[in-house]
Point group: C2
Chain length 251, copies 2
């Protein structure tokens, strides 16, 4: 089984509110349709959900955010999800929409039995599609942003995919700035190389991805960071032909 | 709490594939926004999900339907759901998308704890929005159509709303054809009047609604059939001002 996260910068133009990158998505969908193995797709919020969450000052920590912000983030994620679902369907796959509330309970914790169901959907030949979202928390009106990266961690723990892929708009993890640094081909969590390489470049969204990927690798799972604008690199990695990106080897 | 089903013939033009009735929906949203009570909204599939389910020959009984049909029905329901969510948001409400897979398990049975969550969302001031959908069944690749009417029955059993409303494109239940018959103001399940009035007019979609409404009324719940093109009748019924429609009184 393959678990693939299409980052917000891959599926949307992050510099322009509410703008999907349809052509990039179609190329990605075409590549994913060639993978002959159960597949689960997660996508980020980019200039849809992420845009509104910034506008309304919403974060991953539960708090009493305004209801209007929750509605705006959620509605925009339904809108972006539709674009992703239609791209996959257009490429001949059979997507199956599974919003994260299906397998994330009111407490914010994953419901393991429902997360396992996502795996059965993938094995039945359909492609479960889920995403980061705004969710209510605790039953009293608090809410929070569940990131697509956290969804990756939850699903990876329940499904133990053969390979988990984070597709972003850079080639992988760099030992320094993306501009001057070297692409790290293999990243061993906890190694001194890993420690040395982290400080300068791992900020914001990338830090969260690295955190999730490290946890996944420590749990024995292989995790691959790849450039989502080069979909061929995903199919090459899936088939074992070539790895252009950063591989976190499961410990 | 109010539980309102917006029938497929209210939210879409059933005679024209994939055509929402935006103006009717906006009028309905405006009326619903005036209800000062927790509200849960369910919508049908109309010329979206229902259209594809007919095209692919899919029914409410689980069977090995094609994956492409499941994907087509599901994607179209995400598309229609977005129209409903945006209409509610546009009218100043805070909709909260809750696809039925959140509270319907792999076996097709409602997950009571998750259905109860829908009530807490409504009481927090947001408006949970759910719908009829295509769902996988049993983990082996079978699927089925979960009707919006069945969703009404499931949520009513878990939430016990003060009033459940089925908004359709006719004024209510008729003692004969809609054209010649009399509108039945009050319908007592199991009464001889009920028996007499059923045979001629209760077919297709209406039969299923009446079946659900009878079960709900037998469980002690009030159920109201109303014309969804006259949203004022819903707010009038909600406030107790007037009832133009058919009321099933809870036994």
């Amino acid at each position: 089984m393959l678990l693939v996260k299409l980052g917000g910068s891959v599926v949307t133009n992050k510099n322009k509110a509410l703008t999907p990158r349809r052509a990039a998505l179609d190329r990605m969908a075409d590549a994913l349709s060639r993978i002959d193995e159960p597949l689960v797709v997660v996508h980020g919020g980019g200039s849809f959900g992420h845009y509104w969450s910034v506008k309304y000052g919403m974060h991953t920590e539960p708090a009493r955010y305004g209801r209007d912000g929750v509605a705006a983030v959620k509605n925009s994620m339904v809108q972006l999800d539709l674009v992703v679902l239609e791209a996959l369907h257009g490429a001949g796959m059979a997507p199956y929409a599974v919003p994260p509330a299906v397998f994330v309970g009111e407490t914010g914790a994953p419901v393991r039995s429902r997360a396992k169901e996502v795996g059965r959907i993938a094995r039945s030949g359909m492609v479960p599609v889920t995403y980061g979202d705004a969710l209510l928390h605790g039953g009293g009106g608090d809410s929070y942003i569940l990131s697509g990266d956290r969804v990756m961690g939850m699903l990876a723990a329940a499904l133990r995919p053969r390979l988990s892929v984070f597709a972003t708009n850079v080639d992988g993890l760099y030992s320094g700035d993306v501009e001057d640094g070297e692409l790290i081909g293999e990243y061993v969590p906890g190694s001194s190389a890993a420690g040395a390489s982290r400080a300068p470049d791992v900020t914001g969204g990338m830090a969260r991805k690295v955190g999730e990927a490290e946890r996944m690798a420590r749990a024995g799972l292989d995790v691959f960071f790849v450039n989502g604008n080069r979909p061929r690199r995903i199919t090459d990695a899936a088939s074992g032909a070539a790895f252009r990106g950063t591989m976190f080897r499961g410990a």
